[in-house]
């Protein structure tokens, strides 16, 4: 454990509301290297509150890297400079005394800013509602072992299903594309036997919704994969594209 504090300059994006202009505001902080990035913001907010100033609005919940609630662009990287972690797991020991850190919200056309560092990511839920499920009613399922699934297939599906829906892939992409998110969701179900009946309808409805909501196209820069806190593979995008093509070749048309 290191007790020497780090002195840092923070340039944080402040924006009172969706229709107001935003700007970077500078703050000086002194923080323990063992604190997490969000704990540093907590402390700063406590200071602001005790001076009767409005705290910086940011979102976080589980602080264990799994809920996908948090997500800030730190020095140009969604979730900060360390790969494979969410913002809540970024610790100050990764910064140096005297550093200046730029902090801003995820930026994408489909993610409007609500306040300060909080953006509206509900578009991702709209895509899921369009078809990200298997249609099975409660109580009508066969025995779990009646559907044997090879271990490697289960693992592959699990890898895709690991996506936490934080939206970093969208924020990382120069086209603000949601392809990594959507393809992970599609792959998870497309890999499993249970997902087969709706496989080709699903890919069409979800892709259609994604386009409607203003997400851009994929141009293979791989920024999404590089910034994904869960290491979701772009192989999923290839899988989705293949399924989409097959779906188009089939006669079924989606409403």
């Amino acid at each position: 454990m290191n007790n020497k504090k780090l002195n840092l300059t923070l340039k944080i994006w402040r924006q009172p509301g969706p229709n107001s202009a935003g700007s970077f505001v500078e703050y000086k902080v002194s923080v323990s290297p063992d604190a997490s990035f969000l704990e540093m913001l907590d402390e700063l907010n406590n200071e602001l509150e005790s001076k009767n100033l409005e705290p910086i609005a940011f979102e976080s919940d589980c602080r264990e890297g799994i809920c996908g609630t948090c997500g800030i662009v730190i020095n140009g990287h969604p979730h900060g400079p360390i790969p494979r972690i969410a913002t809540c797991q970024l610790h100050m020991r990764n910064f140096k005394d005297g550093d200046t850190i730029w902090v801003e919200p995820f930026r994408a056309r489909a993610f409007p800013v609500i306040k300060d560092l909080i953006v509206d990511r509900s578009a991702l839920d709209r895509i899921m509602e369009a078809g990200g499920f298997i249609s099975v009613n409660t109580g009508s399922a066969p025995d779990g072992n009646a559907i044997p699934i090879p271990k490697d297939i289960a693992s592959e599906a699990m890898d895709a299903a690991t996506c936490i829906g934080c939206g970093a892939c969208v924020a990382a992409c120069k086209n603000a594309s949601a392809m990594l998110f959507v393809s992970a969701k599609i792959s998870h179900l497309a890999l499993l036997p249970q997902g087969q009946p709706e496989r080709y309808i699903r890919v069409q409805t979800m892709v259609k919704k994604m386009d409607e909501l203003g997400f851009g196209a994929c141009s293979n820069t791989y920024a999404c994969e590089a910034e994904c806190p869960k290491g979701i593979s772009i192989l999923n995008i290839a899988r989705m594209n293949r399924d989409y093509l097959v779906a188009k070749l089939k006669t079924e048309e989606v409403e």
Binding site: M1, P16, G17, S32, D34, A35, L38, E39, D42, E49, S50, L53, E54, P55, A57, E59, S60, D61, C62, R63, E64, G65, I66, C67, G68, T69, R84, H91, I114, K115, R121, S122, L124, D125, E129, A130, G132, I134, V136, N137, T138, G139, A141, P142, D143, G144, N145, I147, P148, P150, K151, A154, S155, A157, M158, A161, T162, G165, H188, Q194
Partner: protein
């Protein structure tokens, strides 16, 4: 207030089956005439929304998150129990039932627990059908592992992310109903009051967290599935936004609060690192399948753990509880850890013990350990900066799950007709301690397989009418919450909301935590009262009510904790016995084990709210027809 548990008559194994037959049904054509409100989109809320939507009801579901997929169920790591006996190791519905009753130290209702075990198998089938990628054996069959408090392998898991995968399953089932128009989702809404008119739950008031507006919603029945309240301790394993507000405000409107002092302290969390720490991180209990827990035999041993030779290590769980060893139940493991730390044998002088994988890595190889626990090891390393493959983890108990909650009958209905409570928000299935992998099981059992039946029975028998939100009573409730909010904003004192919350947390942890004494509890009650007074004189809530205001959100929650904390202490003080997670130092055996008093305390303590700081106790005696009350032994 009368507590009628409505447990059906007849043999234990037939109760639910008979009850299902005896309950009244709503005809398919009439289901669409009924509106149901669900608050919370965790395992219990999302699964209930999906199932009730499928049946044909109009469901309105609320979450304070931006997305329904973020509920704290998502963070559960280890697994979900089910009595499938796929491993051929002697599991059965009865054994799961018995383990759970015993694990809860005989402070839960037999009939509820049996039903939980009975539907557990269906949960797995349901989730598999939804595409939950459970771990598989090479032959394609489902894999299982063991959890604390059990000697069979009945825990189904998806890496260390079981909660996430189960929640995504329930969320996807709910999404299907959203698409079909049967479920309407209201995100970024926090329930701030329950509307009770003529003694019946008629709807809720929520705060739109973006606009600050208070919105009114009515329904024929209301379900609260809002999780637990261990953030009353400030530092806990719960997510930052978990809170007691929905159940607490319902309690103040007439719902009895049962066994509030039964809070589980989870034995395997990453220890506290400093003053600014915001929460504690849990390391899955499944680690105890292969990790060995120990401390040095020598007090004040500051040596690096790798320098402490074998003969100077005390594997205290294996020593004290040879049968269950490192897989002893959570309350027992937690207390044992506290004991060795109190003796001055904490890891390198800290409030921590070692969780060591050295032997497992030697036995199985690093690759197997990586496969089993890789993501947990990574998480530990990210947070602490130490590599658990090289150095033993340090762990310590932390507040985790709350077994107490709103009192419900067998139908999961509270003491307010029309108000149902599911999952961690109710008190019903875990008694004084919760075994591992049983929280996910209860959440999904309530949502998928119990509420869809019991809600129908309520609607068919009571035929409640719908009250329009323009009704003056709705406006009265709305006005009250507006006044309350105004009051919070107008204190304009000197202290931040967090500083008061932290102070409350310290009182709770020191005096209403792992070990409680009469004196400590009495002190705690006074200190909480004083702190509550200070809050209302000296808190500073910055910002306005007409905007996204996280300071205001936290202030409302802390105001509730300042009342709930007192009730937890009162409940712990009145229960003159030790049981499960509730350990009163005055009541212990010579070996330091919990000493239960079945003669006087084999009941559920249900508290009726009278006014702030004043409650009336009602008792629901616990009747054990099938199991015999026995001293818990894990030796």
């Amino acid at each position: 207030m009368t507590l009628d548990s409505k447990v059906p008559a007849g043999p234990l194994k037939d109760k639910w089956e008979n009850h299902k037959f005896n309950m009244k049904l709503v005809s398919p054509a009439n289901k669409r005439k009924y509106d149901i409100i669900i608050v919370g989109t965790g395992l219990a809320g999302a699964s209930a929304a999906a199932s009730l939507g499928e049946l044909g009801y109009n469901v309105k579901v609320f979450t304070y998150h931006d997305s329904a997929r973020r509920a704290h169920s998502i963070a559960a790591q280890g697994g979900i129990n089910a009595a499938k006996n796929y491993q051929n190791d002697g599991d059965s519905v009865y054994r799961l039932f018995y383990d759970t009753i015993k694990g809860g130290d005989f402070r839960s209702r037999e009939a509820n627990v049996y039903r939980l075990a009975e539907v557990s198998g269906n949960i797995i089938d349901q989730c598999v059908a939804q595409g939950v990628p459970f771990a598989r054996e090479y032959g394609g069959m489902l894999d299982n592992r063991s959890f604390g408090g059990a000697l069979v392998s009945r825990t189904f898991y998806a890496k260390g992310q079981t909660g996430q995968q189960l929640l995504l399953g329930a969320y996807s089932a709910m999404n299907r109903q959203i698409k079909l128009g049967k479920v309407k989702l209201y995100a970024r809404r926090e329930m701030v009051d329950l509307v009770v008119i003529d003694g019946i739950a008629r709807g809720i008031i929520v705060r739109n967290l973006v606009t600050g507006e208070f919105e009114k919603y009515s329904a024929h029945a209301v379900i609260l599935a809002t999780g637990g309240y261990s953030n009353v301790f400030f530092l806990s394993t719960n997510a930052m936004n978990c809170n007691a507000t929905a159940i607490w405000r319902a309690h103040k409107r007439g719902a009895a609060f049962a066994n509030p002092c039964f809070t589980q302290i989870h034995p395997t969390c990453i220890p506290l690192h400093g003053e600014v720490q915001s929460k504690l991180t849990l390391m899955s209990e499944s680690l105890r399948n292969d990790g060995r827990i120990w401390v040095s035999k020598i007090k004040g041993d500051m040596r690096h753990p790798n320098d402490i030779p074998e003969e100077e290590r005390d594997y205290f769980l294996e020593r004290k509880y040879p049968t269950y060893g490192n897989l002893s139940p959570r309350d027992i493991s937690s207390r044992a850890a506290k004991e060795v730390v109190d003796e001055g044998r904490g890891a390198q002088g800290q409030e921590a013990v070692y969780l060591d994988f050295r032997d497992a890595i030697n036995r199985l190889g690093r690759k197997v350990i990586e496969e089993r626990y890789g993501n947990l090891f990574e998480m530990y390393k990210t947070i602490t900066g130490e590599d658990p493959y090289e150095v033993p983890m340090k762990i310590y108990p932390a507040p985790h799950y709350t077994m107490g909650g709103l009192w419900v009958d067998y139908n999961l209905m509270s003491t307010i007709p029309g108000l149902f409570v599911a999952g961690e928000a109710n008190f019903s299935d875990h008694g004084a301690n919760r075994l591992g992998a049983s929280a996910l099981m209860q959440g999904l059992a309530d949502g998928y397989f119990i509420l869809p039946y019991t809600i129908g029975n309520y609607l068919a028998t009571e035929k409640p009418s719908l009250i329009n939100i323009d009704h003056p009573e709705f406006d009265k409730f709305k006005k009250e919450i507006e006044d309350f909010t105004h009051k919070l904003l107008s204190v304009k004192g000197k202290r931040t909301v967090d500083s008061i919350h932290k102070q409350l947390g310290r009182i709770m942890w020191n005096k209403v935590g792992m070990a409680r004494s009469e004196q400590g509890l009495k002190e705690a009650i006074n200190e909480i009262r004083e702190l509550r007074e200070e809050f209302w004189k000296n808190v500073n809530v910055v910002g306005s009510a007409n905007d996204l205001n996280q300071c205001l959100e936290r202030a409302g929650r802390v105001a509730d904790y300042l009342e709930l904390g007192e009730l937890m202490a009162i409940d712990a003080l009145h229960r003159n016995e030790s049981c499960g997670a509730h350990f009163r130092v005055e009541y212990q055996t010579e070996e330091g084990e919990a000493l239960r008093n079945d003669e006087e305390y084999a009941y559920v303590a249900a508290w009726e709210f009278k006014e702030i700081g004043k409650w009336e106790l009602h008792k629901e005696p616990l009747v054990f027809e099938t199991v015999q009350l026995a001293t818990r032994s894990y030796k």
